[in-house]
């Protein structure tokens, strides 16, 4: 998406962005989509797929090359996220949480973290997971119960974290805690003393995201692994990471919506009822029209958020939240209609739409629930479009 000063806003991708999208689409179609149902069933993501994502440069893609990232512009990154999300939400989740940790280190890491951890995370050699949510704390994230106390050159962490995507696979965790009455963020390696995790099974959506519960029992972390300064763990570290996460979830939601639309166009052309393809029935056409319009509207909001983020515009946070809010709701609505359009077939695992519906619901809960965003969005002025 480019802006020509004389002609005004040109809402089209560059040739390089179109080419990149084609590459992402081919990779997702050939290497991810054929396995998504199986990974979902097995509740796991194979290490070989993570290795492929790393080899493709898809982990840490939007961060500068000088810190080990892929140097990808944020619109291209959005296209990557959409294509992976279209094929498999669990795969997209890996990028989401990993890049949230990378964002925190890049944005607020001290010199030690930037030299010792950031390059490895940005290259995907170390996988990151984001550990904010707790058994008793979801939307009210400021009330986290995990505690940290200083002990010489270390901090000692005690508490539990829950619903941590890729907790079973990650090498490093961005853990949020209270310390001396202030919010703090720490980079905790999976092999830190006192740190353990166990899988959470039976979740509704993104089942292959290897979700964990974490235990921190007198977990010792060097003080130099404090991310940002004491007191800024939530307001700056968590929020910057969450903005990154929302941008990813917004595009991933567009991916789900597009996948539903693809499935419905295909099914409605082939499925015959009352002597005609169901695509010829007017109520089905109305359903398809809503899917097309809403998917495109959500994608446009993502483009807008990406454009502002690319330009480090102060309004980017709110536009990103709006994009995530609308795209996640759209994905759920469209996935719901997609199952309806498929009838009994939509309820079975012979078709992907049931998985899309399960995955879409997750999008309305993670990285700020729909309701929390409905409380927040009207409080902040947005720039005129």
């Amino acid at each position: 998406m480019t802006v020509n000063e004389e002609q005004g806003m040109r809402l089209e991708l560059s040739e390089a962005q179109k080419e990149a999208r084609e590459q992402f689409r081919t990779f997702a179609r050939e290497r991810i989509a054929p396995h998504a149902a199986e990974w979902d069933r097995d509740h796991r993501m194979p290490a070989s797929t993570v290795a492929e994502l790393r080899a493709q440069g898809y982990l840490g893609a939007p961060f500068p090359k000088k810190v080990g990232g892929g140097g990808m512009d944020l619109i291209t990154y959005g296209l990557l996220t959409e294509e992976l999300g279209r094929a498999c939400s669990s795969t997209r989740t890996l990028l989401t949480v990993h890049d949230m940790v990378c964002n925190a280190l890049w944005r607020w890491g001290n010199k030690y973290l930037k030299s010792e951890f950031l390059p490895k995370v940005a290259r995907g050699e170390l996988l990151g997971a984001f550990a904010l949510t707790e058994p008793n704390v979801g939307s009210d994230a400021r009330s986290i119960e995990t505690e940290a106390r200083a002990d010489g050159d270390d901090y000692i962490l005690n508490g539990r974290k829950k619903w941590i995507s890729y907790g079973e696979l990650a090498d490093v965790f961005l853990v949020f805690a209270h310390c001396e009455g202030k919010h703090a963020a720490f980079l905790v390696p999976a092999d830190a003393p006192g740190f353990s995790h166990r899988p959470i099974l039976g979740v509704m959506g993104t089942r292959a995201a290897m979700i964990s519960e974490l235990d921190l029992e007198d977990c010792r972390v060097p003080a130099k692994q404090l991310v940002g300064r004491l007191g800024f763990g939530f307001s700056h570290v968590a929020l910057a990471a969450l903005e990154q996460g929302r941008y990813s979830v917004a595009w991933g939601s567009v991916g789900i919506a597009q996948a539903c639309l693809d499935a419905c166009l295909d099914y409605s052309a082939k499925r015959t009822q009352f002597g005609a393809p169901i695509a010829d029935h007017q109520l089905v056409r109305a359903m398809l029209t809503r899917m097309i319009a809403e998917t495109r509207a959500a994608r446009l909001l993502c483009y807008r958020a990406g454009y502002l983020r690319e330009h480090v515009h102060p309004g980017a946070a709110m536009e990103t939240m709006l994009a995530k809010y609308y795209a996640a709701r759209t994905a759920t609505r469209i996935a719901n209609d997609a199952v309806q359009l498929h009838g009994a077939n939509g309820l079975s695992d012979e078709y992907p739409v049931a998985r899309y519906l399960r995955d879409s619901k997750v999008m309305e809960i993670i990285e700020g629930s729909t309701q929390v965003q409905e409380i927040t969005i009207p409080r902040y002025p947005m720039d005129e479009l």
């Binding site: 300064r229 800024f232 910057a240 927040t376 902040y380």
Partner: protein
Amino acid sequence: MDERKTKIKEFLARFFRNHKLQDEEDIFALGFVNSLLAMQLVNFVENEFDISIEDEDLDLDNFRTVSNIDALIERKIAAEA
């Protein structure tokens, strides 16, 4: 310097409705600032004045008043020159 302060005030005025902000007023004490605004303020300062706010700059006093924000920008520009 006054031009910088004016820009800072214009940015904050979008959030501080019906309040004419003074240079030395504690923006946190006014009750308008929450986490989202705090983060947007950092992005604004970086983008508008072409500086980088690092983890060592994360001190509430640096962002407490328009004058303090202006002083932080002044120091960063001098350090990055």
